[in-house]
Amino acid sequence: MAGVSIENVTKRFGADQPAVTGFSLSIEPGAFLALLGPSGCGKTTLLRMLAGFETPDEGVIRLGDRVLAGPGQFVPPEARNMAMVFQSYALWPHMSVAGNVGYPLKVRGIAGAAYRDRVGRALDAVKMTDFASRNPAELSGGQRQRVALARCLVASPEVILLDEPLANLDRHLRASMEETFREFHQRTGATMIYVTHDQSEAMALADTVAVMSAGRLLQAGAPHEIYRRPDNRAVAALIGAGDVLSLPVGDVASRELDGAAIAAALGGREGPLADVLVRPEDVLPDAGGAEFAVEDCVFKGERYALVLRHGTGARLQAFSPERHAPGATVRCSILRGWRL
């Protein structure tokens, strides 16, 4: 396995604002990286540059020590030893399931028993052995997805790229495919790079999440890091629910704020204001907490989602096991906050 390093990569389409600007990231061998960002943020362009479907205008992309793309250098997709799961799955309609899966081997000149054995194992890994002679058109979305995955697996690529592979599946199927991806990563140990705009998908699957916006890398780190300790307001706004309060927190060195510090700030202390991120799950009912007016209360199935308003004008989202009528008053304390 080899790691991927992306150094200062920029890609422009026409005279518009660049699709990707000065992107640098080093991906460890065997990592599962999620590229997360809203649509149009350049994450797919970056993935296509890794695959070799686009050439960077500036910067260098390396796989291990090998330069894939850089000034005057370019390795075409067919020579990169990568594989990709496309959003549309990209199964060839004129080949059977087995033909699709075996094509990378066929191109590499592998035939006979070795071919049959490896195709068989790949199909077995995604539980599609019984469908080997079917046409892709006869399969359901989830089955097509698994065939596409088997095609990635078959030639033991160094890097597997996944372009929003779950976007076209229904919710129920997504959960089971997430499980399949996780197993797949554990089994193969391949470096996987996964593009998605769905943060819960990214959090659930990846060991590293890279958050992108407007062509730039905002922050990269472990999922809980990104969630708990966003670098700036943009990342906080993109990841998870929550509110940014302007609070006079005083001179605290740590960015992590505990309940007491926040309670003090809400209590009406004077001083310079700072932006503090509060996650809704950190707002807890507490008879001794601050007073909030309930502005809105929506039933979400497993709980109620509240919108609260503090006397200082601060707006806060919270969860509650029971219903509160709008206009009612509740007392809550805030468990922790993160200074942006």
Partner: protein, 563 residues
């Protein structure tokens, strides 16, 4: 986002080669024509031809017949499109196919069929006892006759564009109008027709342009009565004065091209306004119930098909069965002698069959070799260069056949430079002109096939390790094979029906089927011409059925007469 070319995704020599081919076949002829016209103008030779009263009579005749023909096409095509798309009349598929047929039947055959239908010697009218007395003039040998047949021939063009624009109407808009209380006729007047107007204008413009460029009909109907439109005027001048008048003819050709391009411009402007599709959901307009009028409407449609298609073709078949000139046709006298004659005896028609089949097959296959990589590359490339290339390919197709033929005479009248070989008066000049003229026909099904296949299919093969040729062989060709088949059949159909280009470029031994029909009729061998025409119509019919059978595997838009 996905349009950028990727280095290494195709051999570096491919784009320059394709650009050269397009330039040679599409830009060079038009350029040579303009040069010829400019030279003639500079030499002052323009004086005689542009002040000649005959020239301006031909211009007037061209405009009169094309505009009147357009009006007839508009009425016929409009009635069929509105009824077949909007109403609940039965047999839509059959009516649509029957109405389309005149477009695919070569114009000289249409003309011959109608000549056999009307006039004193009509076997059909004689058999029915309805023929005008012997010696009375053939009523179709007139400007109105030419206009009528142009109208019938090109009505399917109006039908097609109108049907496409009606099918793209927002169905929910029509439903909303009905719920607002509008009667079906109010909906038609207030919603449907205004929205379909750009399509109607575009269809009319195409019918006009096709009328300006049509050669077969005015040649068969006008030349016997010394009525000339611009294409037949150029043809007869070249026939009587040879290549000495090429400069003048280049100028006249530019004139024809200008009239045609004015029509195309109107069509393009009309189509550009047609972006209603984005509003609302387009869908089947399950609108207008004919109720108790349904049988009457269906009978009227059938009657129109009877008059414009069945009757002329029946007359054609009847004439082909007449044993000798003047013999009255009956079950006892009918004979297949004419068919035997053209298929096995007459060397002229046998050669024509051989030539046309050779030209059509070679043009179709040669074009595939150019247009498959071209369509592939255009999909990769897009952007300004791709649009420029697509426009260049449209030029020779949009040029009336007579104009393209004059351009090719200008190009090849002198021996080729360097090699000193002349292909003038050989079959190769016709082949090159066909390749130029039908490149757009060949490209269309392939371009729509490529636009409807996911580029990811090729990218997946690329990541699987397949290089350019491997991808072409394993992925691209199998996927576009049906469209390539449709492309080849379409070119074959157009080429085997072709008359205008070959009428100017043929010489002894290189006559085509179109030229053979024209010459046989011109020489008074009506039943031989009719028999040959019947065989041509039969062949057209079989090829169209073949395309229909292929249709299920083709991308939308690959076959021009299907919605």
């Amino acid at each position: 986002m996905r349009s950028r070319p990727t280095r290494g995704s195709h051999p570096a020599w491919l784009p320059p080669l394709l650009l050269c081919l397009v330039a040679l076949f599409c830009v060079l002829p038009a350029g040579r024509l303009l040069l010829g016209a400019a030279r003639a103008l500079a030499d002052g030779g323009a004086g005689t031809i542009l002040t000649d009263a005959a020239t301006w009579r031909a211009v007037r005749n061209t405009l009169t017949t094309s505009l009147a023909g357009m009006a007839i096409s508009l009425v016929l095509g409009g009635v069929f499109a509105l009824t077949l798309v909007l109403s609940d009349a039965r047999g839509k598929l059959a009516f649509g196919f029957a109405f389309m047929l005149p477009l695919m039947i070569p114009p000289q055959v249409t003309a011959l069929a109608w000549i056999q239908l009307t006039g004193p010697s009509s076997p059909l009218l004689n058999a029915l006892g309805l023929a005008p007395p012997m010696g009375s003039p053939q009523p179709l040998y007139s400007l109105s006759g030419i206009a009528l047949l142009l109208g019938v021939q090109h009505a399917p063009l109006v039908f097609l564009t109108m049907r496409a624009s009606l099918a793209a109407l927002p169905a929910d808009g029509v439903e909303a109008a009905r719920l607002s209380g509008a009667s079906p006729f109010r909906v038609l007047a207030d919603i449907v027709l205004p929205l379909a107007l750009p399509g109607i204008i575009a269809g009319a413009a195409i019918a006009f342009v096709s009328g300006v460029g049509n050669f077969g009909i005015p040649a068969m109907l006008g030349i016997p009565a010394s009525i000339f439109v611009l294409p037949t005027f150029i043809y007869s001048r070249l026939a009587s004065f040879g290549t000495g008048m090429l400069g003048d003819m280049a100028m006249l050709s530019v004139l024809v091209a200008l009239i045609a391009f004015a029509g195309i411009l109107v069509q393009q402007l009309a189509m550009r306004r047609r972006d209603y599709r984005t509003i609302g959901l387009s869908g089947p307009l399950a609108g207008f119930r004919l109720g108790r009028f349904r049988p009457a409407v269906e009978t009227a449609l059938a009657a129109i098909i009877l008059v414009i298609l069945v009757a002329p073709l029946t007359a054609l078949v009847a004439t082909s069965l007449v044993p000798a000139y003047g013999v009255k046709l009956s079950a006892a006298t009918a004979s297949l002698a004419a068919y035997r004659e053209i298929l096995f005896v007459q060397s002229v028609t046998i050669t024509a069959f051989r030539n046309s089949f050779f030209l059509a097959t070679t043009a179709a296959l040669a074009l595939l070799a150019i247009t498959v990589p071209l369509a592939w590359w255009l999909r990769q490339r897009r952007g300004a260069i791709a649009i420029a290339v697509e426009t260049m390919i449209e030029i020779p197709y949009a040029l009336p056949g007579i104009v393209l033929a004059v351009a090719f005479i200008l190009l090849f009248a002198a021996p080729l430079p360097f090699v000193k070989i002349s292909i003038y008066a050989t079959i190769w000049i016709i082949l090159l002109a066909y390749i130029s003229s039908f490149m757009a026909v060949s490209l269309k099904p392939l371009a729509s096939a490529f636009s409807q296949t996911d580029p990811a299919l090729e990218e997946a093969a690329s990541l699987a390790g397949a290089g350019f040729w491997r991808r072409m062989r394993d992925i691209v060709l199998p996927m576009i094979a049906p469209a390539a088949g449709a492309s080849a059949i379409m070119v074959f159909l157009f080429a085997v029906n072709e008359l205008t280009i070959s009428a100017l470029l043929w010489s002894a031994g290189t006559q085509t089927l179109g030229v053979a029909v024209f010459n046989l009729d011109d020489g008074g061998a009506a039943s031989l011409a009719a028999a040959l025409s019947v065989l041509i119509v039969g062949m057209v019919f079989v090829l169209m059925i073949a395309l229909e059978l292929l249709a299920g595997r083709l991308p939308r838009g690959a076959i021009p007469w299907r919605a």
